[in-house]
Symmetry: C2
Subunit: 244 residues, 2 copies
């Protein structure tokens, strides 16, 4: 049986302010929880309707389906909800290919981008301070556990780029054709906000603008979704690296 | 002022059954509506809070913000909601690169894939009969108007593939490396269901299995999201076509 205070605390983790105050965040569903349990992340408490997890007894609380519904952020809660401790932010390693995000606002996009970084072996994802919080519950859901393998850091992006010694790329509508330009094995690649792209101040730090060319006769007025653009950019950097 | 019957009719278009019975579907937001108005799609009625559209007077109804909220499917309705007539389904042209979907269920994924087809100049998107309806309001929102430029047809996918004379590709976890195998300028490329991939019966029609290889040391247990996989596959087909 969950107490009112427990329910209140868990519910409060839906807000960034309380996540940061308490240093806690939520993971839901068996698969995602297991990925976090098998990582360096530290469990605070696991609330579950079934005893199927390998977790110390003092960290687990069996609850009813009704209670799970009360604390879950999902329409269809899946067996368990875990509260994990937010680790201390680590500086980007600065090695290899790094993705940097300028003001990404949609949690689904950030989650998908973390998953793409994981797939393409990108260790560091650097986010501007106004990018959506990676411990947002919707981001966690969309990452499918990839957050355990990608180091996400929130930094003043301008200062970070100024101090970086590696080549800075940015995805724009009017840059070099990404398919025909020569891409290195390492560097920083910036993707911009869903509506406005890369901001002027960040643009001024970009050394090489790259573009995913549009095909077909009818030119559509919309750009690609930022997660898809990230997929294509990462794919092309990695493809070119194979031959080197 | 909207009548109760009008509200009921518009609300009913949230369900596939009624969309098909009535042959109507909903588009919301200024940009999306304008894309459909400037296409071959035929407007039934435009409900708007501002007279900013170039539409015959007998097809337009000025309504209040309150009424728009009543009929909108969005949390934050954007100025207008239009009801368009569903066109008669057209057979795929069979020319060039064709994307085929096997049981895609998420409206956001289908919408994004339609947008990707538009970007990469794919004229035909063939969907299995159990793929989510492209006139679903969430699909329409995610397409950003691209549905006006991509011919989406719902067919028995098995029969369609059997009768096709072009090469059939499928995205799998264990196929040829998409970056190093030689891809033609035309053919059919199948992407499968979010949870289960391509079904066995469809797999048996695939001539060439292709795979997006995973990079990095830690192998993640999750595959890529199907919309991202489509982005990367389309990108690679088109990239290879440049040099030919």
């Amino acid at each position: 049986m969950l107490s009112k205070n427990q329910i209140k605390l868990i519910k409060s983790l839906g807000q960034k302010k309380y996540r940061q105050q308490l240093g806690l965040f939520i993971v839901e569903g068996i698969k995602g929880i297991n990925e976090f349990l098998n990582s360096d992340f530290e469990l605070e408490t696991l609330y579950t309707t079934k005893s199927i997890f390998d977790v110390p007894a003092n960290r687990i609380l069996e609850i009813s389906e009704v209670d799970l519904k009360k604390i879950s952020t999902l329409k269809n809660p899946n067996t368990a909800l875990a509260v994990f401790k937010m680790p201390k932010q680590q500086d980007p390693s600065g090695i290899g290919l790094i993705i940097a995000l300028d003001a990404i606002r949609d949690p689904g996009n950030l989650g998908t981008i973390i998953r793409l970084c994981d797939w393409y072996g990108v260790k560091d994802l650097v986010c501007s301070l106004n990018t959506v919080d990676c411990y947002n519950t919707k981001v966690i859901q969309a990452t499918m556990g990839s957050l355990t393998r990608v180091n996400v850091s929130y930094l003043n992006l301008e200062t970070y780029l100024e101090s970086s010694i590696t080549e800075v790329f940015g995805a724009f509508m009017n840059g070099e054709n990404i398919y025909t330009t020569d891409l290195p094995n390492e560097g920083i690649v910036i993707l911009g906000n869903e509506a406005n792209g890369i901001s002027n101040v960040i643009e001024s730090k970009v050394k090489r603008k790259v573009t995913i060319p549009q095909f077909g006769n009818t030119k559509s007025t919309e750009s690609l979704n930022v997660a898809n653009a990230t997929a294509i950019v990462l794919s092309e950097f990695r493809r070119q690296s194979i031959g080197k």
